[in-house]
């Protein structure tokens, strides 16, 4: 395996610290830079940037406006790959929107939708597309196949890369009462290009753990080391925290601990 880049998300409120930080190889961009961000020019000059914005949900075709935006951001960042999510978070008519990642039903119909629309998007991009797994907090009876099978079939038909979000896997395993390593084994790890790792915390509404902008636990980092060994094509590991409440210390320490764990 080639040496892995270890990085984080660009959090604009930490711009000054990130502009002068060391030990961070790349920054993922969840939002376009604000026009008034004084640190953006230095960030852009200094880091490898990964496009990780919301481009659109691939249950529907992206329109020309969305594709133009994706191309423009990819060009701005000079990103080595373009990331999107396996998500379907707003209704087809636009009336209801969850504003939070939410997985599609794992069915033949949705597989066909995502394959067709991802292939159409890939044809318009100059960079490879990678797709990130999204956790379900509950099972939906209308789903017809395990997530891992659905994802494997998607990657076989699109040749896209896999952005493996490990806390998402860990959470799903937790809520299904199975061992995370066992749960992970079914996913198409040979397609993984990038891994996400983050902390989890108890959530009062969920009455259980969920992703939080905190340091990854030792258990999560051990899970990361286990996963990376099984992802021969992986090129980057990203500390997945993007929040106004994230401190520079937590970000820097998390990246250092990720590096130590690998």
């Amino acid at each position: 395996m080639a040496s892995l880049m270890v990085g984080a998300f660009y959090n604009p409120h930490l711009g000054e610290r990130l502009a002068g930080a060391s030990g961070i190889d790349h920054l993922a961009m969840a939002d376009p830079p604000r026009p008034d961000d004084p640190w953006w020019p230095r960030i852009r000059e200094r880091y490898t940037l990964l496009l990780h914005d919301y481009l659109g949900q691939l249950s529907e075709p992206l329109d020309e406006r969305a594709i133009a935006r994706a191309r423009s951001l990819a060009d701005l960042y000079k990103t080595p790959w373009v990331a999107e999510h396996f998500q379907c978070l707003h209704t087809e008519d636009g009336t209801y929107n969850l504003n939070y990642v939410f997985p599609p039903l794992y069915t033949e119909e949705f597989l066909e939708r995502f394959v067709v629309n991802a292939n159409a998007l890939q044809a318009r991009l100059d960079q490879p597309l990678v797709m990130e797994n999204i956790p379900g907090f509950f099972d939906v009876k209308a789903s017809r196949m395990p997530e891992a099978v659905w994802l494997r079939r998607f990657f076989e038909r699109t040749k896209a890369g896999f952005l493996l979000d490990l806390p998402h896997i860990w959470l799903e395993a937790h809520y299904h009462g199975v061992d995370p390593k066992t749960f992970l084994a079914d996913f198409p790890l040979e397609r993984v290009v990038e891994l996400h790792v983050a902390g989890v915390e108890m959530d009062r509404d969920l009455e259980g753990p969920w992703i939080a902008p905190t340091e990854p636990s030792d258990t999560m980092l051990e899970f990361l080391a286990h996963a990376v060994e099984r992802c021969p094509q992986a090129k980057a590991v990203t500390f997945d925290a993007f929040s106004p409440s994230l401190s520079a210390e937590v970000l820097q320490r998390s990246v250092e601990r990720i590096r130590e764990a690998l």
Partner: protein, 256 residues
Amino acid sequence: MSDRAIQDTLIRALADAPFRSTPGWRDQVLADPVRVERFARFLARHFYYERLMHFFKYSRALAKVTGRSPETVLTGAGFEALLPVLVLGSRASAEAVAKLAVDQVRAGTRAVVPYLGDLLSYESAMMTVESGARIWSDGSSTAAAKQQWSVPMRVEGTMLLDLTYDLPVVLPRLLGPWTEVPQPPREPTRLLIARSPHGRVSVARTTTTIDTLLELADGRKSLDDLARDAGLRPAELQATLEGLVDIGAVRFSHGS
């Protein structure tokens, strides 16, 4: 029912609390109702956290003098009481949550921020105008439809806000470093707040021309009628309407 339609039902259930208590949802038994309810509450808190952090960022910047951060309402009893009636993205829900934030900040120290009332009206209006269904994809029919549009109409939800202070002058300064609270000039100011079909919220100072057009653009008057009633030359009318359409304050509908 297609899988996409089932997914839409699921999304609606998570976004629309009253819908979750209807037989139409309950009888489908698509998922464990306890888990769905927990996740819906999680989503609601997240949804309004993002909006309060964004639209009330000026009040948040003033928290060091008011002693009140708007987003803390999300862990209070007022928000808990709203959870059974919230519909994520609806105007009524946006107004209700914004009111909680306004009440929270207003109860803090106000002496050094004489324009706090204006500021809270502004932030609340921004959050309210942002609500509502939005267009996620332009599709392929937009260009053809545009060619048929001819009758301008003020978009529902577009807001005119009258302020005692010239608030736009001070807003950027509030987000920068300061030790003494930045103060705007006390000067009557009228702002237009509108949202594009794709959900982008814009603010503009109004002019007499804009005020007149917004009043007259009722979806029945043609461009010629508008130009005559507003006393505008065609070029002036066109330029103003283009600006209003761009920010989402006016749209064109089919003439009757």
